[in-house]
């Protein structure tokens, strides 16, 4: 190492964080589950919303199918009546 490299090694000597670094890391570590819980709540809420929308969609589909079945049977009845009238 020449003089400049020696000066660089001194200038870039390791620095320590302020006292209590370990404690601050542990504090953040323990705060994490709360964030995880919030994230989980958000995900569950979004999931529930999606499930509710799917359920509503299913109901609407069933209503449409029922309406079509009723309409179909009414049309059949009208057709039968028309046939009877013609005969």
């Amino acid at each position: 190492m020449d003089w400049l490299e020696q000066e660089l090694a001194q200038a870039l000597a390791r620095k320590e964080p302020a006292a209590g670094f370990d404690r601050r890391v542990r504090a953040r570590l323990h705060r994490r589950p709360r964030w995880l819980a919030i994230a989980a709540t958000i995900i569950v809420t979004i999931g529930a919303g999606e499930a509710w929308r799917q359920h509503q969609g299913q109901l609407a589909k069933e209503q449409v199918m029922t309406a079509m079945r009723i309409t179909g049977s009414k049309l059949n009845r009208v057709q039968l009546q028309l046939k009877g009238t013609e005969q």
Binding site: W3, E7, A11, L12
Partner: protein, 150 residues
């Protein structure tokens, strides 16, 4: 080591602290993949490098300075003068991010170029070039000011 890499790279104590905390929190979530103390050391250094670079990119929109445009010195300290250390840190802080990190790993962590290349994930030749160019640049700036003539 983790805080020090971040501090020398970022020159911001609060940001270096936050970055170092992030690195240790990340270690906690990756503990299962750590095979030995030596692996933990390598992992911490590598992630400290990545997070420090990310933090610098997020923090600053300031333009990167070309290696040749590093600031000139305004005072003339001699080798061994504590002022020279501060001056060198400031000069290194103005280097572009990759040469800066290579210099920190070389002179703070005492890694050889192959280890630096592995840590930073860049080719060995690039590391050597960053270090040689940075040293030549610093030496030129110092010698023009009469620093280094013992």
């Amino acid at each position: 080591m983790v805080f020090s890499v971040a501090w020398h790279f970022l020159h911001d104590r609060d940001l270096a602290e936050e970055t170092a905390q992030d690195v240790f929190l990340s270690l906690h979530t990756h503990l299962a993949g750590i095979e030995s103390p030596a692996h933990a050391g390598f992992w911490l250094r590598k992630v400290a490098v990545q997070r420090s670079i990310d933090a610098a990119r997020k923090r600053s929109r300031r333009p990167q300075v070309a290696l040749e445009d590093v600031a000139e010195l305004s005072v003339h300290p001699a080798p061994g003068d504590p002022m020279l250390g501060g001056m060198l840190r400031r000069l290194i802080a103005t280097l572009p991010e990759m040469p800066r990190m290579a210099m920190i790993l070389r002179y703070q962590e005492d890694l050889d170029p192959a280890e630096i290349a592995e840590t930073m994930g860049i080719p060995l030749g690039t590391v050597k070039s960053h270090i040689q160019r940075s040293l030549a640049l610093l030496r030129g700036k110092l010698e023009r000011r009469g620093v280094g003539e013992r």
